[in-house]
Symmetry: C2
Subunit: 213 residues, 2 copies
């Protein structure tokens, strides 16, 4: 996979984007804030979430190195969600009108942006297709997706870190935090995964894939 973090585009990002360093809990942008930029993630991870009138968080996505966060604000002109760092994180701020200009100038960049948006649409639709399935399957799919993402883009370590809390995962998949806990220990007891706090390793991809259907 060609990534925006490859050398060629890294220089592009450097050119156009102001580099921001975030601590855990810092927000890149807030729900309702005016849209003028998107953010390319250089390192770390973010979650996007919105608050409904009851104050409950709905997590709409997790973002890692090479992802761009903030596109959902483009068409309405304001961000419909918060974007908050899950760990120390670096992002490159990309002013939207500069990105548009560059699209006209640099075909490689334009194609990369479309690729990233397309990937996001596909990933969102993968989740939507899970909407009706049981929590076991949702969580299996979540682990497999995360593992694929990490192996492809971040590292090939056996263990990967869940930088988000169990409740974040729960709010993302539309289940309760307790169900996430229960299902993880269930997977562990069946020998599908190994869990050490926030570190997870998949022992049987096939078993999870079978649940995933």
């Amino acid at each position: 996979m060609v990534s925006l973090m490859d050398e060629q585009s890294f220089s592009l990002a450097d050119l156009m984007g102001k580099k921001l360093t975030l601590q855990k809990g810092d927000c890149v942008f807030c729900q309702g804030q005016m849209f003028d930029s998107v953010y390319l993630i250089g390192a770390g991870s973010l979650k996007t979430y919105n608050l409904n009138s009851t104050g409950k968080e709905g997590v709409t996505g997790f973002y890692f190195q090479g992802d761009i966060v903030g596109f959902s604000g483009m068409d309405m002109g304001y961000h419909p969600c918060f974007a908050k760092a899950l760990e120390p994180t670096q992002v490159y701020k990309i002013l939207f009108h500069e990105m548009e200009d560059l699209s006209a100038l640099e075909p490689f960049w334009a194609r990369q942006v479309l690729q990233i948006m397309s990937r996001q649409i596909r990933e969102n639709q993968r989740l939507i297709a899970l909407l009706g399935s049981r929590s076991e399957r949702k969580i299996a799919s979540f682990l497999l997706g995360l593992s694929a993402k990490f192996n492809a883009e971040v590292s090939s370590a056996e263990f990967f870190k869940l930088t988000m809390s169990r409740n974040d995962i729960a709010a993302y998949l539309g289940v309760s935090g307790e169900t996430v806990s229960r299902t993880l220990t269930q997977f562990h007891k069946k020998g599908y995964i190994q869990v050490k706090g926030k570190e997870v390793s998949i022992l049987s991809f096939s078993a999870l894939q079978q649940l995933n259907v």
Copy 2:
């Protein structure tokens, strides 16, 4: 809202896209098929869905006039879903590499494409945020979203037509067909909506919005 169906871009679409006429049930593309085009909808409506190994349909989206369908296939190089007409429908086939060329030449077009993709990301995330909520709320949100879309883009008629079946709605929202039926009649009894087969009219937006939270 500026739409791709406005005069200026209509001529663009005419220029680049071969016009296809579909009957109800016809597929624009199939799951697994190679990606080379996206499709701008001129009239009618489509659903996208995928089949899992058990043969069960998971509906990932509904698309109407002015939407572009097929972006989810871009980054992997093949379509991860079917796109099937829900009624007599017209689409403009847009070869992807031609779209890229035109985007480089025509900033207006490039911006429109980004807008449409952004809207789709936002709409998908709105659904994802509903993942954990009760079916009542899911269906209320679905009706409100559809109503907004129709009023904005298709017509301002009081009634709008559900071109998809109850089971399609169910598969989209991750509930059972029976639950869709029951909830609609419940809304009807409470005076929130009027239902005549596939025609629906919203009598109390506020009541539905309150459920929507």
